[in-house]
């Protein structure tokens, strides 16, 4: 045990002096313990991998900058860095809770992509085109009311003012427009669903 500690210290000083191979021996020697330590806290391979990498990036930078002063205690020092990074990870995650999607509840069963895919947008276009064609078949007075209401988003009050008829007449025209459109759709077996 003592021998290995001395070896670590030697390797560290060799590395500081520029021997890159010393680092590779140090990583090789301790990677399993450090990795297992991180995994035992986070239980996720990818996160463990990230924290392991960040730990050694910190180790490398500290050693290269000459800020290391814990001779003979290399592994406990690395473990402490790893431990701090694990704490950072949990702190960050508690600020931004994530759904890992591993449990029974899947967030994707609630969320869906509301934008249309290519097929659906083609169908939507087709449906809108068919509706326009059916509207063209309507008598002019009904067509006018329907266009104002549905495409120009006008209220029946505005429509009555614009067309010079009473609100009730405008409502009646709208009603007949819809009835007539339904009739045409039924007669011609037009499917208007997306």
């Amino acid at each position: 045990m003592n021998k290995e500690l001395i070896q670590d210290a030697e390797l560290v000083s060799n590395y500081i002096q520029g021997n890159e191979n010393a680092l590779s021996i140090l990583i090789e020697r301790h990677k399993q313990r450090i990795y297992s330590f991180i995994y035992s806290k986070v239980y996720d391979r990818d996160i463990t991998e990230d924290i392991f990498q960040d730990t050694f990036i910190k180790v490398i930078r500290t050693l290269k900058l000459g800020k290391y002063n814990e001779e003979g205690k290399f592994l406990p020092w690395v473990m402490r860095i790893a431990h701090n990074l694990v704490i950072d990870h949990f702190r960050k995650n508690s600020r931004m809770p994530k759904f890992d999607n591993a449990g029974e509840f899947s967030i994707f069963s609630v969320l869906s992509d509301s934008s249309l895919n290519a097929e659906k947008s083609i169908i939507k276009e087709q449906v809108e085109k068919d509706v326009r064609r059916i509207i063209e078949e309507l008598p002019d007075d009904q067509k006018q009311v329907l266009m104002m209401r549905m495409y120009q988003d006008m209220s029946f009050k505005e429509i009555s003012e614009r067309t010079g008829v009473s609100i009730n007449t405008a409502l009646g025209r709208m009603r007949y427009a819809l009835i007539n459109m339904r009739k045409v759709i039924e007669q011609k077996n037009i499917v208007l669903t997306n």
């Binding site: 890159e20 680092l23 590779s24 990583i27 090789e28 990677k31 399993q32 990795y35 297992s36 995994y39 463990t48 991998e49 392991f52 990498q53 050694f56 990036i57 490398i60 930078r61 290269k64 900058l65 000459g66």
Partner: protein, 47 residues
């Protein structure tokens, strides 16, 4: 006779970092150089 339902023994997980991670670290170490200038230390990643 009672059925014995045995749970699968958990796989012996190989708790080691990926080779890519280790090799990334070694390359990072090789690329990182510290430049001393008038008591100031600059880090440079030479890739």
């Amino acid at each position: 006779m009672a059925k014995i339902y045995s749970t699968k023994t958990p796989k012996n997980i190989n708790l080691k970092p990926k080779d890519e991670t280790v090799s990334f670290l070694l390359n990072y170490s090789k690329a990182l150089s510290v430049i001393n200038y008038n008591k100031l230390k600059f880090e440079a990643l030479l890739n």
